[in-house]
């Protein structure tokens, strides 16, 4: 102990000759530089190549926006902002307003999320926290199979099974109990906004469920045990440890499902009735941005008509970006506040 404590003091008193130290340092520096040259080069190459690939994604998105804007020039110039505020879509008189399609897109996606989110969260939690392993893997497999069904098959099922079933069983119930709301009034059709929304919910359930299952599986076991050790029941453990831990992942899953619902085309086109009007009732036909493009593209006779349809695509893209950004802002807001939440 004694000598080692004294050593630094003595060195401070009489400084060592600087020459050898500097030489040694230089040699070490030289060696380090030479030794790491290939590594440095590799790092640079890696950084540039990954950066390029990442930038290409942005370039691709910008490219889409540019092409869509150029192709919709005619309509953009002619209608400018009226395109977004007008609900008059009249190809014969060459009057085009996107509002009915925006309404249809937002409403069908909202209905889809309203049904799919609780169901998906529930089944993901059941699979991770409740069910025995053998049953959970089988159910998980089935849920993932739902994602493998082509959307045109969903569309057929929607036309022949889901639509008529909703009309005969669910619509009267909704009208009976919630008929005071305008959205549940009027004639009940099997091709309708409601049918499209319900069909979409079935289509996005596998995505949300699969992602949520992985998110909940990733919650460390010690978080669960910490809650249980405090005397939490299983449900309290889920509420206290599992869901908060996976919160941002769950929102990511919902955004993924929303993206699918916004853009789904053919299945929606088959069951929504394709009427470019805003009807108060969910039992009435409607149309979405994506389904309108698919339906009308082959019939678009004039340049202005075509240009208006391309502008619908542009609107869809902007809508998707805005909703994504809003959802992300929501997550950031909640996560940021969590430290102060009571």
């Amino acid at each position: 102990m004694e000598p080692s404590r004294k050593l630094p003091a003595r060195n401070d008193a009489e400084p060592r000759p600087p020459q050898p130290t500097r030489q040694v340092m230089a040699a070490i520096a030289e060696k380090a530089r030479v030794g790491s040259l290939p590594g440095l080069l590799g790092d640079r190459l890696f950084r540039w190549s990954t950066a390029t690939l990442a930038l290409m994604v942005i370039a691709l998105l910008a490219g889409f926006a540019v092409v869509l804007t150029m192709q919709s020039r005619l309509s953009l110039v002619k209608f400018s902002f009226r395109f977004f505020t007008s609900s008059n879509w009249d190809p014969v008189n060459e009057q085009f307003g996107a509002l009915p399609f925006v309404y249809g897109t937002v409403m069908t996606s909202a209905i889809a999320l309203l049904i799919a989110v609780p169901l998906s969260l529930g089944s993901a939690l059941a699979m991770v926290e409740m069910l025995p392993q053998w049953l959970a893997t089988r159910i998980g497999f089935m849920v993932e199979l739902l994602a493998a069904i082509p959307s045109v098959v969903y569309g057929l099922w929607g036309i022949f099974v889901l639509g008529p079933w909703l009309r005969d069983n669910i619509d009267p119930l909704l009208a009976g109990y919630l008929g005071f709301l305008p959205i549940f009034q009027g004639p009940q059709l099997s091709v309708s906004l409601l049918t499209a929304g319900v069909l979409l919910s079935v289509m996005i359930i596998p995505y949300i469920t699969a992602v949520c299952t992985e998110v909940f599986r990733a919650v460390p076991q010690n978080q669960r045990e910490a809650a249980l050790a405090l005397g939490a029941t299983r449900w309290e453990m889920i509420r206290m440890a599992v869901v908060p831990y996976g919160y941002s992942g769950v929102v990511g899953a919902i955004i993924l499902g929303l993206g699918r619902a916004l853009g789904e085309t053919i299945a929606v086109a088959m069951v929504i009735g394709n009427r470019p009007e805003i009807a108060a009732s969910l039992f009435m036909p409607s149309s979405t941005l994506a389904s309108a493009i698919a339906n009308e593209f082959t019939e678009a006779t004039g340049d202005l008509y075509l240009s208006a349809l391309v502008e619908l695509g542009l609107v869809l893209m902007v809508l998707a970006v805005v909703l994504n950004a809003a959802a992300r802002a929501l997550v950031m807001g909640v996560v940021g506040q969590q430290g102060e939440r009571r």
């Binding site: 010690n222 669960r224 045990e225 249980l228 050790a229 405090l230 908060p244 969590q338 102060e340």
Partner: protein
């Protein structure tokens, strides 16, 4: 207690002959069909620190996890036998493990504050389970009392709204102790609480154990024999799922009764 004259010194309360808080009787535990513990019999005295030592894999964690029925939480695990808590068998049919765990708190090897909760919310996490709503004042009082008992109050009193995960490792572990104490358990189980901590944080927690045993019964699992010698009153030595020796810490470390114990504490294996 209520009518005790104020002049009575605190020692007189401690001098009361220690009662068995926990009595482990013929307890065996199984882990996916394999035997982890064989017929353990052990008395854990109130207001003392009982250390459980032994080499890795000897079953010391399993034993402590059996004491609040945490062992069975993982699929494929089960335990047989009795653990009497104040004369009630916590393994009797009809006993709700959730109620057991509210009386017997636990601190884990790795500090596990809830990452989405603030420091004060972490402390009151257990209180918010199935309980009446806490008033602001009562809540603050419990937060302060629990953090003081865990010797953390002075370090965090100005940052109570910060996330629990913003603290250092040693502070996080003391936060977990405060969280366990906030629900007023009778027994505190600690499963290698210092194994991930630096020596200074370890020393703080050992000091804390000495203070806490005045009010709680503590079971400390440790792989660190010096820690057992420093911090515990009684020591149980486990080997391959068997309880080899149990006695006063002093006696175990100075005059062990069994050869295996002596070989282990002198560092010949483990």
């Amino acid at each position: 207690m209520i009518s005790l004259p104020a002049s009575k010194s605190p020692e007189s309360a401690v001098k009361v002959p220690a009662a068995e808080k926990l009595k482990v009787a013929d307890l065996s535990a199984y882990y996916r069909g394999k035997t982890a513990l064989r017929s353990i019999n052990l008395d854990i005295l109130a207001n003392h620190v009982t250390a459980i030592i032994g080499p890795s894999g000897c079953g010391k964690s399993t034993l402590v996890r059996c004491l609040n029925r945490m062992h069975e939480v993982q699929a494929g695990n089960h335990a047989e036998g009795q653990v009497w808590l104040d004369g009630e068998d916590i393994y009797a049919p009809g006993v709700d493990p959730v109620q057991v765990r509210r009386r017997i708190g636990m601190v884990f090897q790795k500090a596990t504050p809830f990452p989405t909760m603030s420091i004060e919310d972490n402390v009151t996490a257990g209180l918010r389970l199935n309980r009446r709503r806490l008033g602001r004042a009562e809540r603050d009082r419990i937060v302060e009392r629990s953090l003081r008992r865990a010797a953390l109050w002075d370090e965090v009193k100005d940052v109570l709204r910060q996330p629990g995960t913003s603290l250092s490792g040693g502070q996080q572990q003391r936060l977990c102790i405060a969280r366990a104490l906030a629900v007023e358990p009778e027994v505190l189980l600690m499963d290698e609480p210092c194994s991930a901590l630096d020596p200074i944080s370890t020393a703080r927690i050992e000091e804390l154990l000495l203070e806490l045993k005045a009010s709680y019964t503590i079971v400390l699992v440790t792989h660190n024999m010096q820690q057992a010698a420093r911090a515990s009153d009684y020591t149980a030595f486990l080997l391959n799922g068997d309880l080899i020796e149990f006695g006063e810490t002093n006696q175990i470390f100075t005059n062990p009764g069994r050869q295996e114990t002596e070989e282990y504490i002198t560092g010949r294996f483990g």
